[in-house]
Amino acid sequence: MTLSQSETLLLVAVIAVCTCFTRALPFLIFAGRQKTPKYILYLGEVLPFAMIGMLVVYCWKDVSFLQNPWGLPELIATGYIVLVHKWKHSLLLSIGGGIVLYILLCQFVFA
């Protein structure tokens, strides 16, 4: 489904404000150079790792492993991306190649 124009504008505005808020927050709070609470520093260190882990799973939420094609296109493309990225560290090869591979798998091999 697609959001209406006003819903889209509202959503974009909210996300823009929230994004800007996270970027500006340290400057707003710690401009006076007090010490940053250690708990916050700790969260800033570990959350980025955990959030990307969460987002990877989030992307897989609609894959069904129990019926044809048993998540095979996703598994194959993911295997390709991990290996090629570890090998070459090139966005074009890993992401670009991964998407092309996935689209081909979906449209021709497992169609």
């Binding site: 489904m1 697609t2 959001l3 819903e7 889209t8 504008l9 509202l10 959503l11 974009v12 996300i15 823009a16 929230c18 994004t19 800007c20 996270t22 970027r23 500006a24 927050l25 340290p26 400057f27 710690f30 940053t36 708990y39 916050i40 520093l41 700790y42 969260l43 800033g44 260190e45 959350l47 980025p48 790792f49 955990a50 959030m51 990307i52 882990g53 969460m54 987002l55 990877v56 799973v57 989030y58 992307c59 897989w60 996703e74 493309a77 993911t78 991306i81 991990v82 990225h85 570890k86 560290h89 966005l91 890993s94 992401i95 670009g96 991964g98 998407i99 996935y102 689209i103 449209q107």
Partner: protein, 233 residues
């Protein structure tokens, strides 16, 4: 100004390639969901956050849920908090550029600014400002190209959604290589899988975020030391 531009532009070439490519992918994805180039422009101009915008596309294909949008955006962008903390000092004395520098601090611009010295005699604010503006313009240009191309050519793009998965997998791999300890990354994966299985795909995100926060808080005494080196680099 021209002199600053000449000094700054070459530094941004690696970002040019990355942002054009990811921007095009974002534009294509957005247009495949039925949104025009103006939405891509608005998002890349005012949100200007790679992973944040990909997550936003997900929110634009389901009924409007502002609360979820706020929560997801804050958590996905939690890393900016840490970027900001490490930039508090560096951005001092950047004058009128400062608000824009803070707004435009993406992962790529952050690492560019961290690794680039301001040439002698050059104004710090202007130098960082031009770098940030160039990066921002690559991102906008890329997403516009993708959105316009996507609306002109009626490709069968079944499977293009995978671009978001691919992006997060690549970030995951890079973070995995960057850190010796993988507890935080694995916590994110396993807690989310657990709640996906427990409560189903419609409601799992919120409890997952809560669960991750709890787990990381419980593991603090163990993890704080291990992850500290990484941040003070």
């Amino acid at each position: 100004m021209l002199q600053v531009f000449r000094a700054a532009a070459p530094r941004t070439v690696p970002v040019l390639a990355g942002y054009m490519f990811l921007g095009i992918a974002f534009g294509l994805l957005l247009s495949s969901k039925g949104y025009g180039w103006s939405v891509a422009l608005l998002m890349s101009l005012f949100i200007y956050a790679g992973s944040g915008q990909f997550v936003a596309v997900g929110l634009m294909t389901v009924p409007l849920d502002i609360g979820m949008a706020v929560l997801l955006t804050l958590l996905v962008n939690a890393r900016h908090l840490f970027y900001g903390l490490s930039m508090l000092e560096r951005f001092q004395g950047t004058g009128k550029w400062k608000p824009y520098l803070v707004f435009a601090m993406t992962d790529e611009t952050y690492s560019l600014i961290c690794s680039t010295k301001v040439p002698k005699g050059m104004n710090k604010g202007t130098f960082y400002g031009i770098i940030s503006m160039l990066d921002h313009s690559y991102w906008i240009a890329g997403s516009l190209c993708g959105a316009i191309f996507g609306s002109l050519v009626s490709l069968d793009l079944k499977g293009i959604d995978f671009v978001m998965t691919a992006l997060f997998i690549v970030i995951f791999v890079e973070q995995w290589e960057e850190s010796k300890d993988h507890t935080a990354a694995l916590t994110g994966v396993f807690v989310t899988v657990l709640f996906l299985l427990l409560v189903g795909r419609q409601w799992f995100l919120l409890p997952s975020m809560g669960g991750i926060l709890c787990m990381l808080t419980l593991l603090r005494s163990r993890l704080e030391v291990k992850y500290h080196d990484l941040v003070t680099e």
